[in-house]
Structures are given as C-alpha cells and as structure tokens.
C-alpha cells in the first residue's frame, strides 16, 4: 500500500486529494445543505396538493341554501329551473352562508340577465325555450310575469316558435310558409307543458306529402303546390329523406 502511494507521482496524489475534497463537499451540499423538499419531487407534489386543497371555496353548492331558504328551495325543485343551482343566478354565496346578515348575494333583477340563457340563438339545442328579448313584453322585468324560482309562462304558449324558434324562422322564409306546424304535427296541449314526455306526431309516410303534391292532390292548400309522380319520384325513401320539410327547396 505504502509502496503504491510512494510510487504515485506527486501531482496525482494532490489531484486525488482535490477529488476527494470535491466529492465530500458535493455530498455535504447535496445531503445536508439542500433541504429535503427541494430534492424529492414527491414531497413537493404532496405540498402542492395540500396548497391546492386549502384554496378557499366561493360557491357553496346546491345543498347549502336549502337549510335557510326552505320555501324557495322546495319550490324550485319541481319547476322548470330545477336543474339550475341557486348560485347560477345569485353568484358565489359561500360567504353569505357563513354570515347571512353581513354578506348578501347579488339578485339579478335586470332584464338582460335571463336572456343569457333564453335569448334566441340558432345554435341552442332543439326545444330549448327561447324568446326575442326585444319583442317579448319589453320594458317589464322578467320576474313580474315569471317567478324566477318556478318560471311557468303565465299562459301556455300559443306559438310553437316559443321553443322551436329555429324551425319557425326557417319555415317563415321557405316555400312552406303558409303551412301551419299543426298541418303536419298534431301537438297535444300537454306537449307545451312537459315537452319531453309528451311528443307531437310526425308524418309517417309518403302519402302524407302526397296530399298536396301528388298529381291528383285535392287538398285546400294544394293549388299552388308543385306536383310530382308519387309512384316514381324518389320512391325508395320517405320524402323528408331528401327534402327538409321545414325548408323544402329544389335546386
């Protein structure tokens, strides 16, 4: 051992000492000086999760309001707005549940609020109740006719356009403008009250359109209707597989 050491050139011995010192210093820095949580991502992640979980809640959730506003809560549960959370309209109200006398949630009384959901927009899904805010009983607060917590229309809507705005508007500029919706659909009154459970009828067969469009059609409305040969014209399909009945057009 000694031999090897003494045989070793001076320079190499010094280098080894430098090496060892570096290694010890490095180990010291890594093991002692750098705090544990800087080295271990798992500790960092656990801390990040804790920090995330500690963030304050602003929306109290739909259960929270029932306790003190039982009457409104029960009323809303059975109405058209049953899927709306109180805080969808009244904004975040966690602070209010903690101190109801000091903190009051907003009350959206202005007319511009309800149209966020109910203004007519052709991209909205089929059957969603929509109005034209400029034409629908202007200048009066929505809540003066509709209870926001149980919003029944004061009278059952007469027009199908209330909930089928896109179809109605499309038909209004089409060749079928003179046809009432009820010419082709028998809609029970109940459809306007619970539209998803009671559905209107739809035409079933080619003969239905043939009432006006067959060569020998005699319907009152058939006078102006262009005629086709019912037996041959697009025979394999029902008519509405090619012609959209609410906006029939021939290119």
């Amino acid at each position: 051992m000694k031999k090897i050491l003494s045989k070793m050139p001076d320079a190499l011995a010094r280098l080894l000492v430098v090496f060892a010192a570096l290694a010890i210093l490095g180990a010291f820095v890594v093991i002692v000086l750098i705090p544990k949580d800087m080295k271990d991502v798992k500790i960092q992640w656990a801390d990040a999760i804790k920090a995330e979980q500690a963030k304050p809640v602003l929306y109290a959730g739909f259960h929270a309001c029932g306790e003190c506003h039982e009457r409104i809560y029960e009323k809303k549960k059975t109405g058209y707005h049953r899927d709306l959370s109180c805080e969808t309209c009244h904004g975040p109200a966690y602070a209010h549940t903690q101190d109801p006398d000091e903190v009051k949630p907003v009350i959206p009384k202005e007319r511009a609020f309800c149209p966020l959901c109910h203004a007519y927009n052709p991209s909205r899904p089929r059957g969603f109740p929509q109005i034209n805010p400029a034409a629908h009983n202007p200048l009066k607060a929505c809540a003066s006719c509709h209870n926001p917590h149980d919003p029944k229309p004061p009278t059952t809507p007469k027009e199908c356009s209330a909930c089928h705005g896109e179809i109605a508007r499309m038909k209004a500029v089409s060749h079928h403008v003179q046809l009432e919706c009820t010419t082709c659909h028998q809609a029970p009154q109940q459809h306007k009250i619970s539209p998803r459970s009671v559905k209107p009828t739809k035409p079933q067969n080619r003969e239905f359109c043939g009432k006006c469009h067959a060569r020998d059609a005699k319907d009152r409305m058939a006078n102006n209707a262009p005629r086709i040969d019912l037996a041959n014209h697009g025979e394999k399909y029902v008519c509405w597989q090619c012609h959209y009945p609410h906006s029939p057009e021939v290119e």
Binding site: A11, F19, L22, G26, V30, V41, K42, Q44, W45, D47, A48, I49, A51, E52, Q53, A54, K55, P56, V57, L58, Y59, G61, F62, H81, D83, L84, S85, E87, T88, G91, P92, A112, P115, L116, C117, A119, Y120, N121, P122, S123, R124, P125, F128, P133, G165, E166, R169, M170, V173, S247, E249
Partner: protein
Amino acid sequence: MNGRRKFLRDVRAFLVSISAIGGVLKLLPAKAFAREASRKGKWYGFGVSVDKCIGCARCMEACKTENDVPREPFYFRTWVERYIIRKDGETVVKAIESNAEAAPDTSGDRSILRSFFVPKLCNQCADPPCVQVCPVGATFQTGDGVVLVNVKTCVGCRYCIQACPYGARYLHPETHTADKCTFCYHRISRDLLPACVEVCPTQARIFGDVNSGSSPLTRFRRMNKIHVLKPALNTEPKVYYASLDGEVR
C-alpha cells in the same frame, strides 16, 4: 491550454452530467409509479353532453370567479366553442364570450347545415403529455387522476403549454407560471362539485369517479355513445363527450 486545467474541466463536466442523469433517474420511477397506482381507487373523470349545452357561459363565469382566473377573454380554464358547419363543408369555430347574448343570429342563412356549442376544458389525460415534458417536475398527476401544477417549482418555460394538444393551459400573467383546470381540486376534496358543474343549468356537464359503480358519470357513460377528443394521440383523455360532432377537434 494547460493539460491539467483541461482535465479538471472534463472532471467537472463529468460530475455535472452524472448528477443530471441521477436527477432524471430519480424522477422517472416516481412518474411511472404515479401512473401505475392511480387507476385503482378514486379516478376522476368528466362527462359533457354536447346536445344539452345552451351556450350560456355560466360555467366560464363561475370558473373564473372560483379559481381567480384573469378576467381578460383569452385566459380560460374552461371555455365554450360555437360551431357552424356549412353545406360546402366549411366549419367556423369561435369561442363564445361570457356574454353569449351577442351571438350573431344566423337563422335564415341557408348555407348552414348545423350549429351547436361544445364545452371544453383540460382533459385530465391518464397519460398527460404536459407532465412528460416538464423539465422540473412541476406538473404532475395526483393519485386520483388530476393533473396539477406546482406553482412553487414551475419556472414558466411554457413547454407544457406547447405540449398540450387541447390548448388547455395558459401562462398566468401575474404569477408567470402555467395554469390550468384542476377539476376544482379544492372543491372536490370537500365533496363539492367543480364550479362549472355546479352552475350548469342543463346538466350538460357531469363530474364523478370513473371507478364508482353508481354515479351520474357512470350512468352517462352507460347510456351514451362516448367519444374523446383526439383519441389518436393516445393521451387517454378523461373528459368523455356524448353526441360529439366529427368536426370537433
């Protein structure tokens, strides 16, 4: 140059690269472990019924409030897109404003075939590309399948923002760290719903544990034909879409 100095420099380079490799080795098993363990137990997912969305933007509003997201219209953790598809195949996509009332009335425009709204948010991928690219381990997946950002170690390099195929991340203008949807981690840890689900008026948004036998999310996945966004990327998104149009990317 002096040979000894060169040698010392090489030694230094060697030490640096060894410690770097050591660091990577230390991160790797942790990542693999996180992915393995998580799929059992709670594993959060999200459902979106595209044909129920009315585009009222209450979700965007609630998300910004609950999570302190900057108000400017280009910072979002969740957002809603309006699709208009024309007969000639042209597709117009526009993120709606939080005041959807101003949406242009397109009825009577006969060139339009169909039009609808699509809610979007972070897909909380089971195999998240954003986590893979983070150079400092600041973004990670929790045991229940939520991808979070550690603001303490995030250096704001934007790699994850680039890597996300869904555009779900943004750089927070005040903290200068990456920010994204957390499924409202602070709420779900307290058994509350994420804020966007809470305020959705039509149940177009559904939240729950994928592994639970009885939950709205399970019913949603049982009753609908489900699709995810960009499935070809194999990121295994956990935001499940029903009635998703093929034009939606």
